[in-house]
């Protein structure tokens, strides 16, 4: 049977060191205060050794002129990891998608561009295949206490509620949904399982949830109460005292079907 997935998330930004054009790994809290915590290629190799199920790379700077640095990271990662790699951040066109696939990406992640131009989802799916398009949905509660989708790295409120946008994205050809709670991002206080299960019950494509994992019990809740197919985590796996090995053991204890690494 199909196993539930653990997906380390690697957020990238250009190094703040003057004169450096390297992409570095960063951790964020609430999508802000990015702290540089290492090298994405080294970290990817560690995840490969620890048997991660797949990796998600997000270019937080996402500027149209940052493509070379991102492509360089993905190319290097592809030499050392033999698991699927999803890449997102500033993907705005079919050509952007083609470039990433040609350089090692297996799946392309769309966020703001999909909201601005929903046709893009279908356009990329047609060329790369439906199962290759992941629509990433960042959300938080708005001032009326309703869940709302935000774009441009969590700064601009959009007209959609997460479940409705997920349904629309699926209708237009998305292969998977990646949900991220802006408020819980990097806090370690747990995933938003309420919203996750709402989206999981609305769409019939796989749902990856993220934002807030602090302990293995949060990951367990993501699968059970949240009904997610995969849990993605950034800070949890690389800036806390948690790791893939120990998390898998907890999932096995909770009778969640996961790959058991011998």
């Amino acid at each position: 049977m199909l196993k539930s997935r653990l997906i380390p998330k690697l957020q990238l930004k250009p190094s703040s060191r003057a004169g450096s054009s390297r992409m570095v790994l960063v951790t964020t809290v609430g999508f802000a205060s990015a702290v540089e915590i290492g090298d994405p290629v080294s970290q990817a190799k560690i995840y490969e050794a620890q048997g991660a199920d797949e990796l998600i790379f997000l270019d937080l700077a996402a500027t149209s002129d940052g493509r070379e640095a991102l492509v360089d990271v993905i190319r290097k990662v592809a030499e050392h990891v033999f698991m699927p790699v999803t890449v997102g951040g500033g993907v705005r066109s079919v050509d952007d998608a083609r470039l990433l696939v040609a350089n090692g990406a297996d799946k392309i992640c769309l966020n703001t561009a999909a909201l601005d131009n929903p046709d893009l989802i279908g356009e990329i799916a047609e060329v790369c295949g439906t199962s290759s398009v992941v629509v990433s949905i960042d959300y938080r509660l708005d001032r009326f206490g309703l869940y709302r989708v935000y774009s441009q790295n969590g700064t601009i409120p959009r007209e959609w509620q997460p479940a409705d946008w997920a349904a629309e994205a699926a209708r237009r050809g998305a292969g998977e949904i990646l949900l991220t709670s802006i408020a819980r991002d990097g806090t370690g206080r747990g995933l938003d399982v309420t919203l996750t299960s709402q989206v999981a019950r609305t769409v019939s494509i796989p749902v990856i949830t993220s934002g807030g994992c602090g302990q293995p019990s949060h990951v367990v809740a993501g699968f059970i109460e949240g009904m997610a197919d995969a849990v993605a985590a950034g800070t949890y796996f690389c800036f806390r005292d948690q790791n893939l090995v120990q998390t898998r053991a907890q999932l096995v204890n909770a009778a969640i079907p996961v790959r058991v690494m011998t």
Binding site: F82, P84, A102, C128, S131, I205
Partner: protein, 205 residues
């Protein structure tokens, strides 16, 4: 020398990296003429059926592949979409002719359990239906990475080397002599995936 067929869209780099990590020489074949110097061939995944068949025909690959595989007997491995195009027919976006090497058609996944999701994405256990050199050294129940919305429905069970389950049985691997195909991505399936690729690289008919 292993030739990976490239006609514009496909997961070429990862397959190249995997074979090179195993110590094999790889060449990307962009022209049908490139097939000539190759000892064995790979048809990669990622893309869409009709688009891929159009690309293969346009590049003159269809005829070159028939020659290399059926006349010269070069071993070939089709991965995911690469497996699908070996079928008689594809149905994604309309009926489209495939290479016709395996009898059957490629249809959309329709899991019997409506709670199961399409596309079928993630690591799933593989059950062997026949002994194939592709899986030498791979234990029963080993997991491989699948990511697809369409699957191959064969006319006959003959040739089905392995299956997996997702609301119904899905063909995970095919073999007919020196023609191999996998629904999963061996280049994305870590240790056992690399074992499958190594077995293909060493296969002698």
């Amino acid at each position: 020398m292993i030739g990976i067929i490239d006609q514009g869209m496909g997961n070429i780099l990862s397959i190249r990296n995997a074979f090179e990590a195993l110590g094999h020489e790889v060449k990307t074949c962009r022209d049908a003429a490139d097939l000539r110097g190759m000892q064995r061939l790979v048809l990669p995944g990622i893309g869409a059926f009709e688009d891929r068949m159009a690309g293969l025909t346009r590049g003159g690959f269809t005829a070159a592949l028939e020659d290399a595989v059926w006349n010269e007997g070069k071993p070939i491995l089709g991965i995911c979409l690469g497996m699908h195009v070996m079928a008689d027919w594809g149905t994604e976006g309309g009926r489209c002719r495939g290479l016709g090497w395996f009898g059957g058609e490629v249809v959309r996944l329709t899991p019997a359990d409506c709670r199961l999701r399409v596309p079928h994405v993630g690591w799933n256990e593989v059950t062997f239906r026949a002994t194939s050199p592709l899986f030498e050294g791979v234990p029963a129940g080993a997991e491989f990475y699948f990511v697809h919305s369409y699957h191959f429905r064969p006319d006959v069970v003959d040739g089905v080397a392995a299956v997996c389950h997702h609301g119904g049985e899905i063909v995970a691997a095919l073999q007919r002599g020196h023609i191999f195909a996998t629904q999963f991505h061996p280049e994305k399936s870590q240790a056992y995936g690399l074992t499958v690729l190594e077995n293909f690289a060493r296969y002698k008919s």
